[in-house]
């Protein structure tokens, strides 16, 4: 069994020594993998370990990260997969070339109302309307200025209703510090909101065709 980490260009720098990595090439692309143990470990430590490998690769090459836990029989299976979908992968790789992913999460102070006996029907609906418009306001105040600085963006879902925005932005490597400066400005300018920004991540949210 092999475990896949990323899809890169066939012509790429030497693989980093962070893990026993190998690459198999087809149609100008390469799949980077390592031998896999029988049992897949899913723990925060295993996820971070996987992430460290992909980040080491990301340092000196463009790549499409592969979903965690993707295991194939052998190198030949990986080569077949590249062969079958090389156009799709090449297109996706071109879209993320020279860019990294940045995560932004925004918390607000207008939680969604919960049903309760003490609330009248009209009060409940008005509270719902207020929380809807708070989310829209965040979209205008934070998401729009950030997406105008990004090559692409994707909204992700957040389980906590107080989290008004959870989004991923695809940002050019040279634009990263300007993007973070913009996040800082927006956080300053919106005292009722709390903004968290992490990255740079491999372009996980922008790897789908």
């Amino acid at each position: 069994m092999i475990e896949l980490y990323a899809i890169t260009d066939e012509r790429a720098p030497r693989l980093p020594p962070i893990a026993p990595l190998s690459a198999v090439a087809s149609h100008g692309l390469a799949a980077v993998y390592a031998p896999a143990d029988a049992e897949l470990q899913v723990s925060p430590e295993a996820l971070w370990q996987h992430e460290r490998v992909v980040e080491a690769l990301m340092e000196d090459r463009d790549l499409l990260p592969v979903r965690f836990g993707t295991r194939l029989e052998d190198e030949a299976a990986a080569a077949r997969s590249l062969e079958e979908r090389h156009q799709e992968f090449a297109g996706a790789l071109a879209r993320v070339r020279g860019a990294v992913e940045v995560s932004v999460r925004v918390l607000g102070e207008t939680p969604r109302p919960q049903p309760s006996e003490s609330l009248s029907g009209a009060e409940y609906l008005r509270a719902r309307a207020r929380s809807e418009s708070a989310a829209e306001a965040v979209s205008t105040a934070i998401h729009e200025p950030l997406s105008s600085r990004a090559r692409a963006c994707a909204k992700l879902s957040a389980p906590d209703p107080a989290e008004l925005l959870r989004a991923a932005y695809l940002v050019d490597r040279d634009e990263l510090s300007a993007f973070v400066a913009c996040v800082e400005e927006l956080d300053e300018a919106n005292p009722g909101l709390s903004v968290l920004c992490t990255g740079p991540w491999p372009p996980y949210s922008f790897s789908a065709p």
Binding site: H50, G69, T70, R71, S205, A208
Partner: protein
């Protein structure tokens, strides 16, 4: 470990999980993760539901409103 370190670790882990388990190229292999069959149904549902959502945005679903 100080409380702030725990928070830092946990907060970054949320972003990590969103990405490693929810993003990245999906290659059908030995699908150890996720309920693969259900995921596939979701993919086709997506197309259907996004068109419903678009219709709603454009206000072309009056019957939903009058059903209230």
């Amino acid at each position: 470990m100080s409380p702030s370190t725990i928070a830092e670790r946990d907060v970054a882990l949320i972003d990590l999980i969103d990405r490693l388990l929810g993003g990245g190229v999906v290659i059908a292999g030995d699908i150890t993760l996720a309920a693969a069959d259900v995921d596939l149904v979701y993919v086709s549902l997506r197309a259907l539901i996004s068109s419903v959502a678009t219709a709603e945005e454009k206000n072309v679903l009056p019957r939903l409103g009058s059903a209230l």
